[in-house]
């Protein structure tokens, strides 16, 4: 109920400070927002993070390079393979290691499957926040389970894969894995169509999400927002195209861009990105060569991590993680442990624009806007 001070100027209103506390039912982890409300509109919003800080960077400085890989799994715990990929790229740059062909293909396949997994899950969660009592979420998770089974067959673990290594991947995929992957990629567009039928033209979803949480283009670029949030505003910046790391230049795919930058754009952009990922997957699964899954130097490092002493220097390896630009900054001083190990987490940087997007919106929209930024607290707090 709002007291409109413009209609009755003699009534004074008070703003209400409310704690969207660390425990709230709309997921995303332990994240707190201190919101100041005037009636139903947000006047000020302060995000408070750090509830999940686990000293990842500090730990990384006291164990070997390879020893950090299991911890990178737990950064963005939805996309373990992409996180490993980023660290592997940084180590390869630092140590001058070349990856094997098949290893590169396997890495790209895993990264794109991770993108499918992540975008499906986050779309499901967004709709769960909107109140659709879990049905789209469970459909998303049903499809996600099939891909997670693939991850389990390849690496031994569904989420904390610890699979990608500098030089390729830890071991080759088992027999029949590629066939199963092709089967899933073949069936996925049907599921995406069904998912879209449930959601895209749904008038209620459109009413809730269009023109909500608009992010202007200049603000996005100035705040170094990356990933689907940036592309929803219309800025063409996809690291797979800009950097052309690993073997991405060999695949033809397009980068979808939005126009308005509201929640609907971000949600729909993720669906379009999933379709592009399916194209990359089809090409990669068709062209994958034989050979060793990891280069000899990579295997040596994996067997005996303490022998890997990269030359002094620094390297920054970045990947287009499903949430944005995930970067690993390593400084080496010649010893088996890194001297400095820093992670540029996309969710953390994307969260800085939360306040600007939420000002003037209603409380019910804040949850949806937060869902559309797609944060994972493991990354935000490290």
């Amino acid at each position: 109920m709002e007291l409109k001070s413009s209609a009755m100027p003699t009534i004074e209103t008070q703003t209400l400070e409310v704690n969207l506390g660390p425990q709230h039912p709309s997921t995303h982890g332990v994240f707190r927002m201190v919101a100041t409300l005037d009636g139903e509109r947000i006047v000020k919003l302060k995000p408070v993070m750090g509830y999940l800080h686990r000293n990842h960077e500090q730990i990384g400085e006291s164990i070997t390079y390879i020893g950090s890989f299991p911890f990178t799994d737990r950064l963005d715990y939805f996309c373990a393979m992409s996180n490993n990929f980023g660290l592997a790229l940084a180590i390869e740059k630092l140590g001058g290691i070349q990856a094997s062909e098949r290893g590169e293909y396997l890495r790209v396949i895993m990264a794109e499957l991770t993108r499918l997994v992540n975008h499906t899950a986050v779309t499901g969660f967004l709709l769960n926040d909107m109140g659709a009592f879990g049905t789209p979420l469970l459909y998303a998770f049903r499809e996600r389970e099939k891909i997670l089974d693939l991850f389990e067959a390849a690496s031994g673990s569904r989420m904390m894969c610890n699979y990608v290594r500098p030089g390729g991947v830890r071991e080759d995929v088992p027999e029949g894995w590629l066939e199963r992957a092709r089967e899933i990629v073949r069936n996925y567009p049907a599921f995406l169509d069904e998912f879209e039928t449930l959601l895209t033209k749904n008038e209620i979803v459109r009413q809730r999400t269009q023109q909500v949480g608009v992010l202007p283009k200049e603000l996005a670029v100035n705040a170094s927002v990356t990933g689907p949030m940036l592309r929803a505003c219309g800025v063409n910046y996809d690291i797979r195209k800009v950097d052309g790391y690993s073997i991405y230049p060999r695949f033809t795919f397009k980068v979808p861009l939005g126009s308005v930058g509201d929640v609907y754009d971000r949600y729909y952009l993720r669906i379009l990105e999933m379709r592009e990922s399916l194209k990359i997957l089809e090409q990669a699964l068709k062209e994958i060569p034989g050979g060793p899954a990891i280069s000899p130097k990579g295997m040596a490092i994996g067997k005996a991590p303490r022998t890997f002493r990269p030359p002094k220097g620094e390297a920054y390896g970045r990947v287009e993680a499903p949430k944005g630009e995930l970067g690993f900054y390593l400084v080496s001083d010649g010893s088996p442990q890194p001297y400095r190990y820093h992670i540029r987490a996309p969710s953390f940087v994307n969260l800085t624009v939360l306040e600007e997007m939420c000002l003037g919106q209603k409380v019910a929209d804040v949850i949806i806007i937060l869902g559309s930024i797609d944060i994972v607290l493991g990354e935000v707090d490290r």
Binding site: I59, T64, F69, A154, T197, L198, K201, G302, P305, T307
Partner: protein, 209 residues
């Protein structure tokens, strides 16, 4: 009408189709109408039925022995203890009264090999770095206990499992390991007159493969 329009109805159609697909009668009905049936119930009614895991599914490590539990492959080189990222392994080598390492079956052995299961991350690095293929990953996961300390700390006796068990749970991986061990044994027996197998000190070997 805008809100109750075609989009909402189509969404409800998808849900209804999923509802019908979970019943055999409904599946028959859909097939009669020519609509493809894609999904059904996906719940695994644990604990009556259990999920079938892939072969490589890893959970906690175990120590491998060939034949009898005292013929374990581990030589207490402590490489896994060093490399373990959360540092959950604790090894004490078997030493006699004078502090010299005791040998059994021609190699040193650990007196105490504790893994704290509440710390272990299931990351597999101990398996990757072991030069003797003495530690492998198990796929048992029903280890819930009611206390926080003692029953979660697995001692050497609890960790020892036979190589036959390993071959049973992981056929392809154990065949690779067996081939590697056989090749090493062949090389060692070929080089036996000149180079006796020695106890390795706890430092990384010079080079590999």
């Amino acid at each position: 009408m805008a809100i109750i329009g075609s989009g909402v109805l189509r969404g409800m159609g998808v849900t209804f189709k999923t509802f019908l697909e979970t019943y055999p009668v409904g599946r028959g009905l859909l097939r009669v109408l020519g609509i493809p049936v894609t999904n059904g119930l996906v719940t695994v009614a644990y604990p009556e039925t259990k999920q079938q895991h892939a072969e490589r599914f890893r959970y906690f490590p175990f120590l491998v022995y060939d034949g009898t539990p005292d013929n374990l492959r581990c030589v207490a080189c402590k490489i896994c203890e060093q490399e373990c990222p959360p540092q959950c392994i604790h090894i004490v080598m078997e030493k006699d009264a004078q502090g010299r390492p005791v040998k059994a079956h021609g190699r040193t052995l650990p007196k105490q090999f504790d893994i704290d299961m509440s710390i272990c991350m299931s990351c597999r690095i101990c398996v990757d770095v072991c030069p003797f293929d003495a530690i492998e990953m198990d796929n048992q996961y029903e280890y819930a206990s009611t206390d926080r300390g003692p029953s979660m700390n697995f001692t050497k006796e609890q960790l020892l499992k036979s190589a036959d068990y390993f071959r049973q749970i992981k056929p392809t991986e154990s065949s690779t390991v067996d081939q590697r061990l056989a090749a090493k044994a062949a090389k060692a027996s070929a080089a036996k007159p000149t180079e006796p197998p020695a106890a390795k000190p706890p430092s990384p070997p010079a080079s590999n493969t």
